[in-house]
Subunit: 351 residues, 2 copies
DNA sequence: TTGTATGCGTTATCAT
DNA sequence: ATGATAACGCATACAA
C-alpha cells in the first residue's frame, strides 16, 4: 500500500526497470542483483500496485461474475466452483450479485469495465440477448450460464434440464406410474421451460395415451403446496408427481401429508435440483441432481479458454449433465443409487 | 473497452480535461459543451477505465471479502448481505473464498493490494492476529468477522453466541429440563468456544446442581450422530440436548430416531444457526437464529465507516444479536414465536 | 470556461 | 546486464 517500485529501486540501488525485471522473472538480471532486489522488496513489504500494473499490461487477472439476487445453495456453490477454478487459473473474482432490475445489472456491467478480463453471467429473464448486446463491451470474453439466448457471439453453458427430466420421468414410468403430473415453473424461466419440454417429450414417448396433467407453479414452496392441493382434487389422481424444482416438491409433500395421502404409497413424488433439504424431509425426496459447483468450474474453464485466445469466435453451446437420485419419495428401493443419465458436459458447437 | 477519454475529446472537439470535468460533474463546464460531451460519450459507448482512474484517484471503490472454504447458506447469505450493502454505498465486491491454507490466504490478501479500499475478513483458526499483522497492509480499513483476535487495531464484529446459547438453555430449563447436555463444536473454532462458554454459564446459573454433560463434536452431521449415540448410552439420560450447531442437531435427531427415542417426548433437542433444513426435519428443530445477511450488511457498514474517515483508530468490538426460534423439537407449544434475546448490534469500543 | 501539462505505479522499448 | 524514458488512461493544478 505504501512502498512503490521506486522505493525498492532506491533501497536496492538499482533502477526501477531492474526491479520490475527481477520480480517478474523476465530475465536479464544477475543472480546477485536479483537477490539484492528481492531482499529490498521483502524488507519494504513491497507489493506491486494492481491497478498500475493492469493499466500497462492490459490484463487485470480478474474475472467478473454477474448474477441476479439469489439466496441459498445455488448461489454459494456456483460462486464456490467459479472461485476455486479461477484461483487455479491465477485469476481473481469480482462478484456482482443481488441485482434485480435491468438498469441495476447494466450499471454493474459498466462498472466492471477495465476491471475484468472476462465475465461469467448467470442469465435471468431480464438479462437477455438484447441486454447483453447493449451493455457488453465488444470483445470481452463472456460465458453465459443457463441461458436461452441463441445465436449470440458468446459461449453458453446450460444444465441438461431436458435429459434430467426425461430420465426421471422414465424412472417413474419404470416403476409402473403412467399417470404422471407435472408441477411446472415460471413461464419466463429458462430452466423451467426446458424441464417442461423434457417432461412433455418423455410423456409423449412413455405414456402416449395419458392426458397431460400440468399445473403451474413458480418455483416457490407455497406454489408447490397449492399445486399439491389441486392435484389431490383431480377426478383421477395422478400416480406420481414430478415437480420442476425441489422447493415445490417439498410444498407438494406438505400438502399430501396434511391431506393424509401417503407418499410414496398412494402417490409418488420427485423434484429437481437436489437441494440439501431434499435428503432431510420425510420421506426423503427423489430428485435430479445438479452439480452446481461443477457448473461454476466448467464455466470458469470455458472462460479461461476464451481469454487465452482472443479474437477467436466464442460462439458455442455446452451442456452439463445431471444424475437422478433415487430416495424414498418415489417408492423405489431405498438407496444411494444414482444412474448417470446424461452425457457429461458434452460439447456441441453452434453453427 | 476500446474508447478512451481521448476519443471522446476528439469526437466532442474539446480537451480531455473538459471531458473529465463534464462526466464527473466537477463543474466549470458550459451546459452546452457538457451536452455535447455526453452525447459523444454515449455515442462512443465510453466507460472510464477503472484501473486508470483508481491509479490517480487512490480509490478503487471496491472492497475485498476474504473467507475460508465454506459451503452452503452461511457463505451465500453473508456475501449477499455484504454485496447488497456495498452496492448501496457505491462499492464493488472482490471475493476471495475457498482458501484453506495460510499461504493461500496470504497470497489472496497480497493480490488485493491496490485493488480494494477495504477488506472484510471472515476469521478461521488459521487466520489469526499474527497472520493479519504479517499480511495486512498498514492502514487498510479492515473488519474482522467472528473473530477471537483481541487487541488488534481492527474493527471486530461477532455473533452473540454467548447470549444466544444462554437464552436457549434458559428456554429449555423453563420447560422443566434440568439435565441438559451439550454437543460441542471444534475446539479451535471461535463460535464453538463462545457457545460452550454460554452453555456453561447458563447451566451454572440455572441448574447449578447438575453435573455437566458435554460431548465433543466437530460441527458435522456425522459427529452429531455419534454424540447422539453416546448420550443415549449414558446411565442417566439427559432430558434435553443442545447441539452447538444445527447440522449436529440433525445428526442427533437421526440417532434418536433410529434408537426409537421420541423427540421431544423422551428427549428435547435444540440447535444453533437456523439453517434452512431446521424447519424441514421431523420434528422441526428449535434453534438459535443468526441473521447472516444482517451480519454481512453490518460488516459492510462498519467498513464503509472506517473508509470514510481514515487515520482514526479502528479498534472496536461489535456484536450482532440472535433470536431463539421455538419449533417442535424442544417440546414447547408449536409456533413461530421468537423472542429477541440479545441486544441488537451493540457497540462496545475496546480500550 | 477551456486547454496544457504533470503525475499516479507499472511494464516495455531502446539505448548503453 | 542495466538504466533512462515513454507509454497506459485518467484527474487535476495551473495557465490562458
Amino acid at each position: 500500500m505504501t512502498a512503490t517500485i521506486k522505493d525498492v529501486a532506491r533501497e536496492a540501488k538499482v533502477s526501477v526497470a531492474s526491479v520490475s525485471r527481477a520480480l517478474n522473472g523476465s530475465g536479464g538480471v544477475t543472480p546477485a542483483t536479483e537477490q539484492r532486489i528481492r531482499e529490498a522488496a521483502t524488507r519494504l513489504r513491497y507489493v506491486p500496485h494492481g491497478a498500475a500494473r493492469s493499466l500497462i499490461t492490459k490484463r487485470t487477472h480478474t474475472v467478473g461474475a454477474l448474477m441476479p439476487d439469489l439466496h441459498g445453495e445455488f448461489f454459494s456453490e456456483l460462486i464456490r466452483g467459479i472461485d476455486l477454478e479461477a484461483r487455479s487459473h491465477g485469476l481473481h473474482l469480482l462478484v456482482s450479485s443481488s441485482h434485480d432490475g435491468v438498469d441495476d445489472a447494466a450499471a454493474a456491467l459498466r462498472a466492471m469495465q477495465g476491471r475484468v478480463d472476462g465475465i461469467v453471467i448467470l442469465s435471468s429473464p431480464r438479462v437477455d440477448a438484447a441486454f447483453l448486446d447493449a451493455n457488453l463491451p465488444e470483445g470481452l470474453p463472456t460465458v453465459l450460464l443457463n441461458s436461452g439466448v441463441k445465436g449470440t457471439a458468446h459461449a453458453v453453458l446450460n444444465i441438461d434440464n431436458f435429459a434430467g427430466t426425461y430420465a426421471m420421468v422414465r424412472h417413474l414410468a419404470g416403476l409402473g406410474h403412467k399417470r404422471i403430473a407435472l408441477v411446472s415453473g415460471p413461464k419466463d424461466n429458462f430452466d423451467a421451460q426446458q424441464r417442461e419440454a423434457g417432461f412433455r417429450a418423455a410423456m409423449a414417448e412413455l405414456a402416449p395415451n395419458e392426458p397431460l396433467r400440468v399445473v403451474a407453479g413458480d418455483f416457490s414452496e407455497q406454489s408447490g403446496y397449492q399445486a399439491g392441493l389441486e392435484l389431490l382434487a383431480l377426478k383421477t389422481r395422478p400416480q406420481a408427481v414430478f415437480a420442476a424444482n425441489d422447493m415445490m416438491a417439498v410444498g407438494c409433500l406438505q400438502a399430501f401429508k396434511e391431506a393424509g395421502v401417503e407418499v410414496p404409497g398412494e402417490i409418488a413424488l420427485a423434484g429437481f435440483d437436489d437441494i440439501p433439504i431434499a435428503r432431510y424431509v420425510t420421506p426423503s425426496l427423489s430428485t435430479v441432481r445438479v452439480r452446481i459447483a461443477d457448473l461454476g468450474k466448467n464455466a470458469m474453464d470455458l472462460l479461461a479458454d476464451l481469454m487465452d485466445r482472443p479474437g477467436v469466435s466464442a460462439a458455442s453451446v455446452h451442456t452439463l449433465g445431471c444424475d437422478i437420485v433415487v430416495r424414498e419419495s418415489c417408492g423405489a428401493q431405498r438407496g444411494a443409487a444414482a444412474g448417470a443419465t446424461t452425457k457429461k458436459t458434452q460439447r456441441k458447437p453452434v453453427r
